[in-house]
Amino acid sequence: MNAIVTANEPADRLIRPGEFGVDPVLSVRDLHVSFASEAGTVRAVRGVSFDLLPGRTLGIVGESGSGKSVTSLSVMGLLDANARVEGSIRLKGRELLGLTENELSKYRGNDMAMVFQDPLSALTPVFTIGDQLAEALDLHQDLSRKQVRDRSVELLDLVGIPNPAERLKSFPHQFSGGMRQRVMIAIAIANNPDVIIADEPTTALDVTIQAQVLDVLKTAQRETGAAVVMITHDLGVVAGVADDVLVMYAGRPVEKASVDQLYARPAMPYTMGLLGAVPRPDRGENRRLVPIQGTPPSLVDLPVGCPFAPRCPVATDECRVAEPDLVPVAGNEDQLAACIRADELAAQGVTYDQVFTVDESAPSVLADVPRAERAPVLEVTDLRKHFPLTKGGILRRTVGAVKAVDGVTFDVREGETLALVGESGSGKTTTLLEILKLEAPQGGTIAVLGKNVAELPRAERRALRRELQIVFQDPMSSLDPRLPVYDVLAEPLHVHGWSKQRINDRIAELMKLVGLNPDHVDRFPSQFSGGQRQRIAIARALAVEPKLVVLDEPVSALDVSIQAGVINLLEDIQATLSVAFLFVAHDLSVIRHASARVAVMYLGQVVELGDTEAVFTAPRHPYTRALLSAVPVPDPQVERTRERIVLTGDLPSPAAQITGCRFASRCPTRALLPPEKQQRCDTELPVLTGQDHTVACHFPVSPENPGLPTKEN
């Protein structure tokens, strides 16, 4: 049922570039794409060239707005009518640019196929999966009905959908997100394309599902022998799947190399910066992340010279004169970089920590106080929140309950960060909302600063609001676009009746605390970049000096280089103000970096809770182990050699009635147990046991012997 596989065996690396004289299947030369906009011409792509060899995977990485998606869309001919495309795109020697819509349709889906980011909107909801697969097949092949059916079943089987023959009749809404993405891949490979373009194919998925889908994509590539263009912002994903990597910045490729070369010896400062900014899930050392200062330039009026120069610590005056071309780096002709100092940097073997500097982290005022002596800020005991499921139109009757949160227990102490981690549907957000409501929960107790919120009189509850603040995921929607920053920051202060002069002083102080220019208080949120907006949201949360700040995915909407700065800011704030953070995130690398303790949630329950280092180095719950092994590591060497536990199946529906362990249906440990022990997993709900590192499993993985359950609880 479950397989422990070695990921990325380097066996099927088919062809090296230039060897055997293989012709590229896709050849892009000097591609330029520009859009007309109100502000002026947006030059989204400026001179991209690459060759794609059969069977190879090219990873295109870059931050948002770097032009990676526009490149892929122009290859597919899917750009809007207001886009101007220049250059050359040749598919197996045939020029694609300038073809009419009808002519292009012959190639699309047949010779080249695309897998989109959002599996929810990429399938038509009103047709069955079978119809949509048949459509893809019928368009380009002359097949009988039986052949179409057989081929559809074969394809669904290939992408790992159980009971393919029956599932053909299902509609998209009957599939989970991961399953839908598998169907998308099945449709993409239906006509044995030569090129598959995958645009952020796993960004919308959870890590364990991401691992499954990446494997399916690899299988699909092996079966069809297609070349894959993998577009992503995730350096971990690229490290695992790509053969060659193209790094893009401000619409231009700035570095191109084989994946090993790029990660081991980057030559362009931007690439170094990206690698330094990304937190590593596999390293516990308390290294400070290295942010890249500033923000990417506007594509409407680009600066003269290298577009990265304003953010580059090693930029010289020469850099600001002309934009450097993408040329081979001295000493390694396979590596191309667009930097006039690339040779110099490569020759000296410089790495990011020599190029980019970062301030020392602020010393923590609570560093010497052991955890046991710190006052608890938030205690959640056996929290429950069930949503009734109703049926019927007029006479509504309850037919069941969605157990969104079902017995969650944890505590957060002064000045520490507890991370809540879990896949979507695990109940993280519901837990947060229950805490933030400051009202009596449906079941269990919530105590803030030692006060049980269920028993609070109204006035005290209002006062307690001050101690509990929140930072939301999306800085676009968490700030009122109609209020200048001053009013945004003044809002919580007004609530607590501060005087005008005090508010004025406090706002100047806050702006400096989060690293923004206090003179910018008159600007509207839309005049700030995403990272700056998130800093404003953090400033607002800190305004009234709370004891606990709830961070709901605070960095997941930000680019890597910006994210590092925000994480560092949060660390400094915690160290100096000794505020506690309840940090909710799905990105395990960020969590390992930013939190002291971690609670792993699965289907509304905490399955493992302990110090981050202990949980990450010696996970005891089989789910935690699977989750950790699924996280891609931004290091191709590690990606190729490490073992990955691929969980089968999806998260069960939270409405399902499960009497035993909630994880039993997907548990790799249970599968190895004798039947009488399996019986226990199926019937008895495990509870959190243990001292400091607690785990809710009947047969936890023991620290001495990871991999096999040895200890009976």
């Binding site: 304003p310 610590p313 939301f472 209020l483 919580p492 609530v495 400096k512 206090p518 509207f524």
Partner: protein
């Protein structure tokens, strides 16, 4: 390592986000910002001046006119514009200049008053119904639906019929308001449904901001452009309703005049004395046109995403 030399040689550090700051904070108020952005748009300024001119005309017109609106010149019946009667006279000998000045002030008052009142009531109740979920929303929706099916025109007619004399226009404005807000409130409620799920509304709630402050500070301003267009078009709609009612003899009644009653008098003699129709029509068009320009300007000034004032 010798590499540290490299990073220093010729390197210019990128700008740090926070500059040095001298401590005290100077800022421009929100109102000042809006005014500045409004003034930046020429058409809005033209509209504002046009409206100012119309208001001045309504206020000072009767003072400079040779004749009062209620003292007909029986020696000059249906006369073309002249030095004595600037806009001519009606068939009854009334001075059109005086009539228009008086009628404009009535129509302006009725239109602007009832439109503002409608927007205010609709915005408050519409957002409240959406914001206080639960039973308040259910009862509120029930009330709104009930009010929508009441034949409002008939009721307004009955209410204004019972009122008489010079105070009649106030009753008319109130009646227009009482039955005009329901449809708007429903539209605003629907818009608020999506607003109330936004993170900044949640953030304000979790900060302990009171519900009415949230409605005032976050919900209503974010409906701003809708409200402004509604108010502007509401003036036009209210003037239209007033005209229609006056035409039927149910709105503003003699001896009071409004643009509606003059138009009605003018349209029957349009071939013989066109000036009676022309003057009030021009003023009516000027009034609605100026409101439209002001509305556009205000929307752009309040909307932070608009192109009119990125630099403010």
């Amino acid at each position: 390592m010798a590499d540290t030399e490299l990073t220093l040689a010729g390197a210019t550090a990128p700008d740090v986000v926070a500059d040095e700051h001298d401590g005290d904070l100077h800022r421009t108020g929100r109102l000042a910002l809006i005014v500045r952005r409004f003034v930046r748009r020429p058409s809005a300024v033209v509209g504002a001046f046009l409206l100012l001119f119309l208001i001045a005309f309504a206020v000072f017109g009767p003072m400079v006119a040779n004749w009062g609106y209620d003292e007909p010149d029986f020696l000059a019946l249906a006369q073309a514009p002249s030095a004595e009667h600037w806009f001519g006279t009606t068939t009854g000998g009334s001075d059109v200049f005086a009539l228009v000045a008086r009628g404009l002030s009535r129509s302006l008052l009725i239109g602007v008053l009832s439109s503002l009142a409608i927007t205010f009531v609709a915005a408050l109740l519409g957002t409240m119904v959406a914001f206080f979920e639960g039973w308040f929303e259910r009862v509120g929706m029930w009330v709104l639906d009930t009010l929508l099916v009441i034949p409002s025109f008939l009721l307004i007619a009955m209410i204004t019929r019972s009122a008489s004399g010079k105070g009649g226009w106030l009753v008319l404005a109130a009646a227009l308001t009482a039955f005009g807000w329901v449809g708007y409130a429903r539209v605003l409620r629907t818009l608020t449904l999506s607003l109330r799920e936004l993170d900044y509304v949640h953030a304000a709630k979790y900060m302990g901001v009171g519900p009415f402050t949230i409605i005032r500070r976050h919900l209503i301003p974010n409906l701003g452009s809708v409200l402004i267009i509604q108010t502007v078009l509401g003036v036009v709609a209210a003037v239209n309703s007033e005209t229609a009612l006056s035409f039927l003899g149910l709105g503003v009644k003699a001896p009071d005049v409004s643009l509606g009653t003059i138009l009605q008098a003018g349209q029957s003699v349009v071939l013989t004395s066109p000036w009676v129709l022309l003057a009030p029509s021009l003023f009516l068009v000027a009034l609605t046109f100026s409101m439209q320009l002001i509305g556009d300007g205000l929307r752009d000034a309040i909307d932070p995403y608009s192109r009119s004032g990125g630099k403010a």
